[in-house]
């Protein structure tokens, strides 16, 4: 029993100097190979008791006196392993800026308005087919200090577990046609051939009549090579 390794053809490197803060934070020594043990092939499991009503609806989960401002959207997709098998009941966490490109995070100094009715955090579990769905507001672009006129493209942060700590994924979802993608070293850090995997697609099936347009974003977690791990 072993698990697929990280696919370094697809995954960004630790050191990507255009993204300046990698320079002092990337390990300089090669990773040490490890043979997977029970320690790597297990991971935390979360159940439905963790999820509250509206945890997957960012347009509802922080209302004070009305609806949040911005373009209401739906983000949905399927979580699978590398063989396309659905990963059911796995936790999906999400966080993002508001429509103006401002995070509620206390450290965010961007001079754009906070929205009293928008928090920007959410979570859900995938269903038995590996599907997840969030209702939210399209996040705005925001500036950052990496280089002159650096603006992050519109994006939504995702965090997933899968079935073991080896399948842990933290990533960002982008939107189709965003001109800022060409200038963003975080996105560009991914090998060119696979960058498209981070761009969601407009999807009529996800879109809801008279309510919100939908984007589809499927995610693939590292899967095992062989049969599922038996002690799970």
């Amino acid at each position: 029993m072993s698990q697929n390794k990280r696919d370094w053809d697809v995954q960004p490197p630790f050191l990507y100097p255009d993204y300046k803060s990698t320079v002092l934070r990337a390990p300089s020594r090669p990773l040490v190979p490890i043979k997977h043990t029970l320690s790597e092939l297990t991971g935390p499991v979360y159940g439905h008791d963790l999820i509250r009503p509206f945890d997957n609806d960012l347009t509802m989960n922080a209302r004070v006196n009305g609806a949040p401002l911005g373009e209401r959207i739906i983000v949905a997709g399927k979580v699978t392993d590398e063989r396309g098998r659905p990963i059911s009941n796995t936790l999906v966490e999400l966080w993002q800026a508001n429509a103006s490109g401002r995070y509620v995070h206390k450290v965010d100094q961007h001079d754009a308005p906070l929205d009293p009715n928008f928090f920007g955090g959410g979570r859900c579990l995938t269903d038995s087919e590996g599907n997840y769905k969030f209702y939210t507001i399209k996040p705005g672009a925001y500036p950052w200090g990496n280089h002159p006129k650096a603006w992050r493209p519109n994006h939504i942060h995702f965090s997933l577990f899968g079935n073991q700590i080896t399948s842990r994924l933290v990533t960002q979802m982008y939107f189709p046609g965003d001109p800022l993608l060409d200038y963003d070293p975080v996105f560009q850090g991914v090998p060119e051939k696979y960058r498209h995997l981070l761009i969601s697609n407009f999807d009529l099936g996800v879109t809801e009549q008279d309510f919100a347009i939908g984007f589809r974003f499927d995610m693939v977690l590292r899967g095992d090579n062989e049969t599922p791990f038996e002690n799970r």
């Binding site: 990337a26 043979k35 963790l50 063989r83 966080w95 920007g120």
Partner: protein, 194 residues
């Protein structure tokens, strides 16, 4: 689906603003956390109470105040338990709320898993990391078990000490293991190709 090869979704940095999404309770946001720095759910759980404390350093030796550390560990019997009523083998903390950018987990010392020395799996995330890093924490007072641990012994001898958490007794009598993480430099922590 007609595809037969599904490519791994590329990783992206957790960025500087993860706290209200991933560690909201710790950072005092009005949103519950799925995990925090306390892995002990029920005081009845058996095992030696310990604190795991540390700091994360960049290549200039500066403290990193916006890293996120995740722990995954077995219980005192060496089982990765799915029963969350007593002990949660998973912990998660940012380095932005305790003085001097520390993380401090309250947990129990794990038992041996499959004959390995007691250890804790540590996952490190931060702005400036396009993908997370994995390391392991071993215990400085487990000399005998450590000397037979296949993973630890697979590491070059002069780097093994980067994986050892140092046992200290605090003024209040509690046991604290100090585990600092160095992203670069002469003491660069060993990261595994997990």
């Amino acid at each position: 689906m007609s595809q037969d090869k599904f490519y791994q979704t590329p990783s992206q940095t957790v960025g500087p603003y993860f706290a209200y999404g991933l560690t909201p309770k710790q950072y005092l946001y009005n949103f519950p956390s799925i995990a925090d720095g306390n892995l002990i759910i029920n005081d009845e759980v058996s095992g030696e109470r310990i604190t795991i404390s540390g700091q994360v350093y960049d290549g200039n030796g500066h403290l990193i105040p916006d890293a996120m550390i995740e722990l995954w560990q077995a219980d005192a019997e060496g089982n990765y338990s799915k029963d969350l009523s007593m002990f949660h083998g998973f912990g998660r903390l940012g380095t932005g709320t305790i003085k001097d950018s520390k993380f401090e987990f309250q947990t129990i010392k794990p038992g041996r898993v499959d004959g390995q020395a007691p250890h804790i799996n540590v996952i490190v995330f931060m702005r400036g990391q396009l993908t997370h890093t994995y390391t392991r924490l071993y215990f400085s007072d487990e000399t005998e078990a450590n000397s037979q641990d296949p993973v630890l012994q697979s590491v070059e001898e002069d780097r093994r000490n980067t994986l050892l958490a140092t046992k200290t007794i605090r003024p209040d009598g509690t046991t604290c293991y100090v585990f600092n993480i160095y992203m670069q430099g002469p003491n660069e922590t060993v990261f595994f190709d997990v």
